[in-house]
């Protein structure tokens, strides 16, 4: 299935990616190729088949809510490209 440049632009906004015109065209063609290959999936009869999200059947896994050591604030900020004691810094949001 062929997808349009508008589709690519819409998806790029959702994914927070800024693409050049060249990248948009490349991805338009390549994503169309992959989706074309995936066409057999849409054509497969799956009536009555339940989806598998996870290969191992799991119910909720619980543990006791006990206090235990965790990262210090300094460790939590250690990898931030822009932080000061007490918080991560970001450009203005509002």
């Amino acid at each position: 299935m062929a997808i349009s440049i508008e589709d690519v632009e819409h998806v790029a906004v959702l994914a927070r990616l800024a693409l050049s015109d060249e990248e948009k065209e490349t991805y338009r063609k390549q994503l169309s190729d992959v989706l074309e290959h995936a066409k057999t999936i849409s054509e497969t009869d799956t009536s009555g088949v339940l989806p598998t999200g996870h290969a191992v059947p799991l119910v909720n896994v619980f543990r006791e809510d006990e206090e235990r050591p965790s990262l210090t604030a300094d460790e939590a900020y250690a990898n931030a490209p822009w932080a000061e004691p007490g918080g991560f810094k970001v450009p203005k949001i509002i």
Binding site: I3, D7, V8, H10, V11, A12, L14, A15, R16, L17, A18, L19, E23, Y27, Q30, L31, D33, V34, L35, H37, A38, T40, I41, S42, T44, T46, V49, L50, P51, T52, G53, H54, A55, V56, L58, V61, R63, L71, E75, A76, A78, N79, A80, P81, W82, F88, V90, P91, K92, I93
Partner: protein
């Protein structure tokens, strides 16, 4: 005898018996790395100082007659997707070029506490997305068997390091074949455990319902031993399985007579190169001669495996990689931003490489309004059909087999401009991840001088059966994972 081509189990025994010191072993491996890295480029980061210190500490403990871990002094390479405390973990990405984890992945913690000596972090496709290691921000790794060819991927650095004698064994990760396919292309042994057998804590997430950490080594015994070190429940990974860990090493001596082996028709006919098929079929004949009962089986849903995977994995990836926003960790460009949206756009567009962006785009599309049922939802139902096909096969067979990769190692650059062709490299390995079962690749011979891998698959938690068959195959085939020495050292370090 060259220390750098001795296996991990043998090295552990030699060090414990004081036939050789841990420092001598580590020095030998570091020299080997110096000699072959200019050609192979298997590592993103090497840690020679830390390695020498760890080795010395092992020797001190042994000298003092103190108890040390079961693999004290045995060197290891770690794929750069696993978090290492205090040591940068890049995931092959510009996004994490300077990221230094504040904790160890559980698998890393377990190999450390066994006494192993970490030599460094192995190269990989960015965020484990790829089949050739060419998608690494730090440049490609070469296949030790032919330096003009890819080592496979995404654990290509781990596979190449082990094949070139830079480490006796390594940790990799496998989401759609990323341990088994590079093991196949580099002529080594690699095992993707049952989903949940090994903790994913500290493994940088790609597709969470498919990712598994696993062992890579030059022989089946080492592969079994490394699996034994990392397997087991971990409270830090709620999807890890609460099941006891058997002594995997014992499985190698298991009796293979009468074991039922199903040759998967869909993975061993169309689309497989003639040289690979020939080597694979010869190996099946050898298993048959060794007393295993081999028969063909058809699993029709497998023809949809690749398509289902390339919708499910990118969908999960697009969600997992949303965390890279330039706030808490990772790349952030220089300069001012008009607002936070501009920052997000620039962080992600500049920090991610082509293939990662392609998969984020594909996954976001497959999950977007209007297409969800048609693509992601339908792929999840096809996943069920694949699980059911396997389930029926286990009534008739102990294990299933196929070639690991449809071809031997391909040329660097050959498939980079055609993603779909690259994705087809994973066609034989993907069904295993979709079903969450264990799968393994064992070398079964050479085709035109390049290694061919033999894939063994089994029901959930049947790693012992896989190892039993792999052990038999190793004995029957007698493959020696030793690439030609000359080109590796390029005349330096005693090469031909």
């Amino acid at each position: 005898m060259d220390l750098h081509y001795i296996g991990a189990v043998d090295l552990a025994r030699m060090i414990a018996a004081r036939e050789v010191s841990a420092a001598e072993v580590t020095d030998a491996l570091l020299s080997r790395i110096d000699a072959v890295e200019p050609a192979v480029k298997a590592f993103i980061t090497t840690t020679p100082d830390e390695a020498r210190e760890t080795a010395k500490a092992v020797d001190d403990r042994i000298g003092a007659g103190e108890q040390s871990g079961p693999f004290a002094g045995v060197p290891i390479a770690i794929k750069d997707v696993l978090s290492t405390r205090g040591l940068r973990t890049t995931c092959g990405s510009k996004m994490l070029e300077n990221y230094v984890p504040v904790y160890d992945a559980t698998a890393v913690e377990r190999v450390r506490s066994a006494g192993t000596v970490m030599l460094g972090k192995a190269n990989m496709d960015e965020f484990a997305m790829g089949s050739s290691t060419e998608n690494s921000y730090f440049g490609p790794t070469a296949n030790p068997w032919d330096l003009d060819r890819v080592p496979g991927g995404s654990s290509g650095g781990s596979a190449a390091a082990v094949a070139a004698g830079e480490a006796p064994w390594a940790l990799g990760s496998d989401t759609g074949g990323s341990i088994r396919q590079p093991a196949s292309l580099c002529g080594i042994v690699g095992l993707k455990p049952t989903y949940g057998r090994v903790s994913r804590y500290g493994l940088v997430a790609f597709a969470s319902s498919l990712d598994q950490v696993g062992p890579m080594a030059r022989n089946v015994a080492d592969c079994a031993a490394l699996l034994g070190l990392i397997a087991g429940h971990d409270p830090c990974d709620s999807t890890s399985i609460e099941a006891g860990v058997p002594d995997y090493s014992k499985a190698l001596q298991g009796d293979v007579k009468g074991m039922r082996v199903g040759v998967v028709k869909e993975l061993s006919s169309e689309g497989i190169s003639p040289g690979v098929l020939e080597s694979f079929k010869a190996a099946v004949d050898k298993l048959q001669a060794a007393g295993l009962e081999c028969d063909e089986v058809s699993l029709p849903s497998f023809s949809n495996g690749l398509s289902a995977y390339y919708l499910i994995a990118p969908a999960e990836a697009s969600s997992n990689l949303a965390r890279f926003d330039g706030v808490r960790y990772g790349y952030r460009p220089e300069g001012e931003f008009a607002d936070i949206w501009e920052m997000y756009d620039r962080v992600r567009s500049e920090g991610f490489g082509k293939e990662v962006k392609r998969r984020i785009m594909l996954g976001t599309y497959a999950l977007s309004a209007g297409y969800f049922d048609q693509y992601y939802g339908q792929a999840q139902k096809v996943r069920t059909l694949i699980v059911q096909d396997y389930g029926r096969a286990w009534d008739r067979f102990d294990v299933l087999v196929s070639p690991t990769s449809p071809s031997t190692a391909f040329k660097l650059g050959e498939k980079m401009d055609d993603p779909l062709t690259m994705y087809l490299s994973d066609i034989c390995t993907i069904p295993v991840n979709l079903a969450g079962i264990p799968g393994m690749s064992v070398p079964c011979g050479l085709s035109d001088g390049l290694p061919v891998g033999f894939q063994i698959m089994g029901p959930p938690l049947s790693e012992e059966k896989l190892l039993t068959v792999a052990g038999a195959l190793e004995r029957e085939v007698g493959f020696e994972p030793r690439p030609p020495e000359g080109p590796l050292t390029g005349g330096k370090g005693g090469g031909a």
